[in-house]
Symmetry: C2
Subunit: 469 residues, 2 copies
């Protein structure tokens, strides 16, 4: 149960040998130019770009296996790459190595409409899948915002706006195929909805961020496109009132599909950005899925709950255009926030707490942001107790970066003190490794390290992520 | 990545030393009489009763730790015991060892009504928990039939009649405390609804059947007691028609809470047992949870779907008494089946397949049962594609036992050929180890063995279960 040995970058001769071996098999699908390499390292964070030594564009599980075998032979790091939309430095290559670009593995292999499942290659993005499914009245519900690859979403245990109703990648992956660090191809799970047959290898790989194996194929649970959708928007006098309305909504069993909080900083940004005239108070944006009668009933029930908590007026609509108009503030949130401070880099961080502590956590964090002199609107998937701070920081100003990191430290410690987690959906990557011991304690952390050591004894899989910097 | 060494029973001197050490600490809470020991081995199967060397009644996580430490020191097997309602020989002690009875650990430590979660000791049974919760308008939805301990339910990844709506133990365990094979106390997860912070240790322990660690405490997701419940019963001309109605119901997004199939053999048994006069055809029993309006709408929609598939008449009710009357056949199913063949032992086995294959799987299995000359009614949680055969066999007749085992072999292989699983909810225990390689393939099985070897290198945790006979 030892931690992996201290890591060094492979020496130039090893890199050359690996690249030569890869080129012999993959020809022009091996890229070594700096711009391609930099593109495949993380650019969505304020950690420095750390490019891999080469990028290989894989087209099948067997090709991923061949690449991993070559890398394993030379103890070369291997980093899986989907679309590069991860937020915590997941695809950075601090120890060099080979980035395996899976975007060419984007085939929908099968759709089983009666079983509400499908089989996709890991590079398939969620929008590609949903376009493929639409004609059959089906959709894949998990929506993290970005048009991420489904393999990447599984690897980071992604969720997003409608996890409150449909669950997260933890819940929606029925089975998967992965290439393990020794090159073995493993298939976990089956198409059965549930199973009690042995250890849950699927859930072990989901959320492992490419550090235990590379997911190459997924069997995903789908949902039927609801007969009716209604969406609405409701202002509240305070964060506390909005959170209380959320708690009562969830407690009453209302099967709400989305319930999103925007704080007044975010609302102001949306008003300015999109020339809206929303009341500049905390807002809840909600969405209901069901039959015509059911979405009407749900909207009415929510309106009553909101009014009891001092919220309102609650405006809702069932027509697609009108729904989009109501939700425009949410759709624009990222760009609107960016426009608060042109030239700054937006760093999205997230935590998740028990919903009873959410108002307290958000309000303390807002006070903390104000004291820090930073600009950081808050948007939350509040039905799950999950929220994001979008920190707008000048990455060239070391003092601001330091204040931003210190703010994240305090945010995470606040969430942990409330029996929450340092990340509800973004994952650990490079940037949250520093919180792992604090969140999990020495026993659970030792267990995670033992699993890593067993499955990846030479630590070639996405080194510098999740457990060890 | 080696398999554990061939196992032998501990020699009598070791047993005596361990018992002495346990008695020094636990006094009269150590039981060595045969009847207590036999009670703590499995009696619900046709595998022979294999009693442990002693039973210790533990009252806290720290006591479980102390017991495990003593056993670890002497390489003594340790078997966790909740209520003994598992179905695949899970609590049998083929290599002797110490049974840790957790039934005294039955405190509900906390209920967080706003967060819809609670913290319980592992020996708490689901009925005890539900009695505790009722006043607060909450319930724990997972219902495997027996009043099992929640720790046992987590360890076997149990589910039951309303998993189709509320999920299984995989979904409802937010966090847990476990004593690992070296005596370390590990806490996994948090009270956050979702997390992307590292490997999913919670899901690794859920379903591990006490072979990786002993679960001593659980944080469970709860649900609000629905405002209204309606229940109904509907006969169908064939298994196929009943399954098609189930598929359309699920596909249409109807949030059905329970949907249970009884085959005509089971219905005949219920009629005879409880003097009912149900039509002796396949039946679906359904239950809907929601608001008054919603359960009415759901029942009406289901009635239409059933009629389209040739089913009916569909009878439903919302009053508790009337609901119970409609569902009486389901509640009596086990005892009614037993009465088909007095003196026989009823062995409940289960498989789970993609729902599109369910009718085919059930019908082929019914033909197989008929050819085998065995009596075996079928009851299914058909919304999940999961069904049970209740084999009524004379355990003293070796030929019958052999035919029963052969039938289970064919049933499982049929399910696996349909991309299903050898167990939807009962688990592997002793009796389904023989299917593990076939279901998972060599890669995944090697991975499971590697995990077992890493976490339990001396194979003291519930040996003879899940992976190695």
């Amino acid at each position: 149960m030892n931690a992996p040995a201290p890591r060094q970058r492979p020496d130039p001769e090893t890199v050359a040998r690996v690249v030569t071996a890869l080129e012999a098999r993959f020809g022009a699908r091996v890229a070594t130019g700096l711009s391609q390499r930099e593109q495949h390292a993380s650019t969505l964070t304020w950690v420095p770009n750390q490019p891999p030594d080469a990028v290989v564009f894989a087209e099948s599980t067997e090709e991923v296996q061949a690449i991993v075998r070559i890398c394993a032979e030379h103890r070369m790091p291997v980093i899986a790459f989907g679309t590069g939309s991860s937020l915590e430095g997941h695809v950075n290559a601090p120890y060099g190595g080979i980035s395996i670009d899976l975007s060419g593995m984007n085939r929908v292999r099968a759709v089983h409409a009666e079983d509400l499942d499908c089989v996709v290659e890991a590079g398939t993005t969620r929008k590609t899948l949903n376009a493929h499914l639409r004609d059959q009245g089906l959709f894949f519900p998990i929506d993290p915002g970005a048009d991420a690859s489904l393999g990447g979403m599984a690897a980071t245990r992604a969720s997003g706006t409608n996890a409150v109703r449909y669950g997260t990648m933890r819940d929606c992956v029925l089975a998967l195929t992965a290439v393990m660090p020794d090159g073995a191809i493993v298939r976990t799970g089956s198409r059965a909805r549930k199973s009690s047959a042995g250890y849950d290898l699927t859930r072990l790989l989901v959320g492992s961020e490419g550090t235990l194996g590379i997911i190459t194929e997924l069997t995903l649970r789908l949902s039927g496109i609801p007969e009716a959708i209604s969406a609405g928007i409701c202002p509240f006098p305070s964060i506390g009132a909005a959170c209380d309305a959320t708690i009562v909504t969830i407690q009453s069993g209302l099967p709400i599909a989305r319930i999103e909080l925007l704080d007044e900083v975010q609302v102001r940004a949306c008003n300015a950005y999109a020339k809206l005239s929303l009341p500049e108070t905390p807002l809840l944006l909600v969405e209901f899925h069901g039959s015509d009668a059911s979405v009407r009933e749900q909207a009415e029930s929510f309106g009553e709950i909101a009014a009891e908590q001092g919220g309102g007026p609650f405006t809702w609509a069932t027509q697609a255009e009108e729904r989009s108009r109501l939700w425009q503030a949410r759709h624009d949130a990222y760009w609107a926030a960016m426009s608060l401070r042109p030239g700054a880099k937006a760093i999205s961080t997230d935590v998740c707490v028990p919903i009873s502590r959410l108002a307290e956590c958000v309000e303390a964090s807002k006070a903390d942001i104000a004291e820090s002199g930073l600009v950081a609107p808050i948007v939350g998937h509040v039905g799950d107790g999950n929220f994001h701070c979008l920190l707008l920081v000048d990455p060239e100003a070391p003092d601001e970066v330091a204040r931003g990191n210190a703010l994240i430290d305090r945010l995470v410690r606040r969430a942990l003190a409330m029996d929450g987690t340092c990340s509800g959906e973004h994952g650990i990557g490079q940037k949250k490794i520093r919180f792992m011991a604090e969140e999990h304690g020495p026993g659970a952390l030792a267990l995670m390290r033992a699993l890593k050591q067993t499955l990846d004894p030479h630590a070639i899989m996405n080194p510098g992520k999740v457990l060890e910097a």
